[in-house]
């Protein structure tokens, strides 16, 4: 810690220390944030404090899709308008946001909370795969969309899930892998390009 924070009053140095633990926040930014809050109106500061406290106290995992939620089942699983016969499988809760932004998908989700990574010792038991299989057993679901990341671990997880789900007779699809919008062909790697060729479509 820098000298200023040690010589400052205890509540100040403590907050600086806490800020300092956050990703991307160095000692100087931590000081700036702390002194900003010191001068900010009391209402603003307590709103921030409440927001931080609520993050841990009010949130839990949805009992159906295991997304992070403040109500159980979560807002997506409760929605009668959505297509309950489709489940899109994602690695992390944060992956749901970009998919929702597309407004193209109206089915449900299932969050694995990780991805199979043999060399890190992460296997199926560390993920929410048992929960997924239980969901699929009720016979309501007709399609599973594998939306794990298009990298080595994501593909491994998708291939593993495919093997587990195939015997259940449910349609299994994988998000198309190809060129990102706005990219340059010359920088594309062979795997991406081969996938893009395989998945080419009639215009």
């Amino acid at each position: 810690m820098s000298a200023d924070s040690i010589s400052a009053a205890e509540p100040i140095s403590r907050l600086i220390e806490e800020f300092n633990k956050l990703p991307g926040i160095g000692p100087k930014s931590a000081q700036r944030l702390t002194y900003y809050l010191l001068r900010a109106p009391a209402g603003e500061v307590s709103a921030l404090a409440d927001a931080i406290r609520n993050l841990k106290e009010k949130l839990a995992l949805c009992s159906v899709c295991l997304n992070i939620t403040d109500s159980d089942p979560c807002i997506i699983c409760r929605d009668e308008e959505r297509d309950h016969t489709k489940i899109c499988i994602v690695e992390e809760p944060i992956d749901i946001l970009p998919l929702e932004r597309t407004k193209k998908y109206k089915g449900l989700y299932h969050v694995l909370h990780g991805v199979i990574s043999p060399t890190d010792g992460v296997g199926p038991d560390e993920l929410k795969i048992k929960e997924l299989l239980l969901r699929l057993n009720d016979g309501l679901v007709t399609e599973v969309i594998l939306a794990t990341n298009p990298n080595l671990e994501g593909e491994a997880t998708a291939m593993y899930l495919q093997r587990l789900i195939a015997p259940l007779g449910i349609r299994i699809t994988r998000l198309a892998r190809g060129l990102p919008y706005g990219a340059d062909l010359e920088y594309a790697d062979d795997v991406t390009l081969s996938r893009a060729l395989e998945g080419r479509q009639e215009m």
């Binding site: 990703p23 991307g24 199979i116 043999p118 060399t119 890190d120 010792g121 296997g123 199926p124 990298n151 080595l152 593909e155 491994a156 291939m159 593993y160 093997r163 587990l164 990102p180 706005g182 990219a183 340059d184 920088y187 594309a188 790697d189 062979d190 795997v191 991406t192 081969s194």
Partner: protein, 256 residues
């Protein structure tokens, strides 16, 4: 300050961990510089120009710039992406095991062209084969051989007597085979069937093509795997993490 120095090298990516928001630290194995770590910036963004060129188990040509701490990968071009490995869960899992094995057994910045060639050849063989066990065992044996842990399979490692065509023993502590009598008195040694010994001897002295031609049944394959696993575990003083996954895969979802 002088301009940052850059250099080019071939490399096989054997490990990668996330760094910050979109970067990765790669562990790469190169012919001239041995194993080293380097930063690949922005590779987790969809439009990264490095992206798939620096994915795990890829053979690439890299341009690196010397960094303050770790060198930074500035350009990458795939030489071989080993797509057949990445497209098949069984092959992929074995590929990851091979990468972990190399990472565990090597230190950084030790030039070892032969090991690079062995690794490259192993990945090539793995992408062509459907019988993975001989590929893995051949690689393990030759890796150990190369690093100075070649198991002694001709004579008893304790009494130096020639081995009889009988059930002998394998001892990690002695680094090789014990004859029937010596092995009996060594509680940590495990029995070694005559067929397993023959196959190990052959693999120790033949090339990859001949090694792959060996047909071994399930029982023998399991015995050989167990021996090599115990021996590598003994040498590394740890169990490789990917072995748990290999076991899981075999017991649970293998199509065969």
């Amino acid at each position: 300050m002088t301009a940052p120095r850059t250099y080019q090298t071939e490399a096989i990516i054997i490990k990668r961990i996330k760094l910050g928001e979109a970067d990765r630290i790669l562990t790469i194995y190169t012919p001239e510089l041995g194993k080293l770590k380097a930063v690949a910036k922005g590779t987790r963004r969809p439009k990264s120009k490095l992206g798939g060129h620096v994915e795990l188990l890829t053979h690439s040509r890299l341009m690196l710039a010397q960094g303050r701490n770790l060198d930074i990968i500035t350009q990458a071009q795939t030489i071989d992406n080993f797509l057949p490995i990445k497209d098949d869960l069984d092959r992929l899992s074995r590929g990851l095991y091979i990468a972990e094995l190399v990472d565990s057994f090597t230190g950084e910045h030790i030039e070892d062209r032969q090991l690079f060639c062995l690794l490259l050849e192993t990945l090539k063989q793995l992408s062509q084969s459907t019988d993975y066990e001989p590929v893995l065992r051949y690689f393990e044996l030759n890796l150990l051989d190369h690093l100075g842990y070649r198991p002694q399979l001709r004579r008893c490692t304790d009494c130096n007597s020639t081995l009889k065509p009988d059930t002998n023993f394998f001892s990690c502590k002695f680094g090789g085979v014990l004859c029937h009598d010596c092995g009996f008195n060594e509680p940590a040694a495990r029995p070694l069937s005559i067929n397993a010994l023959k196959v190990l001897r052959l693999w120790q002295n033949c090339d990859f093509t001949a090694a792959r031609r060996v047909r071994i049944n399930r029982e023998l394959a399991a015995e050989l795997e167990q021996i090599m696993r115990e021996y590598t575990k003994y040498l590394l003083e740890k169990q490789l993490k990917s072995t748990a996954w290999l076991d899981r895969l075999k017991s649970e979802v293998s199509p065969k």
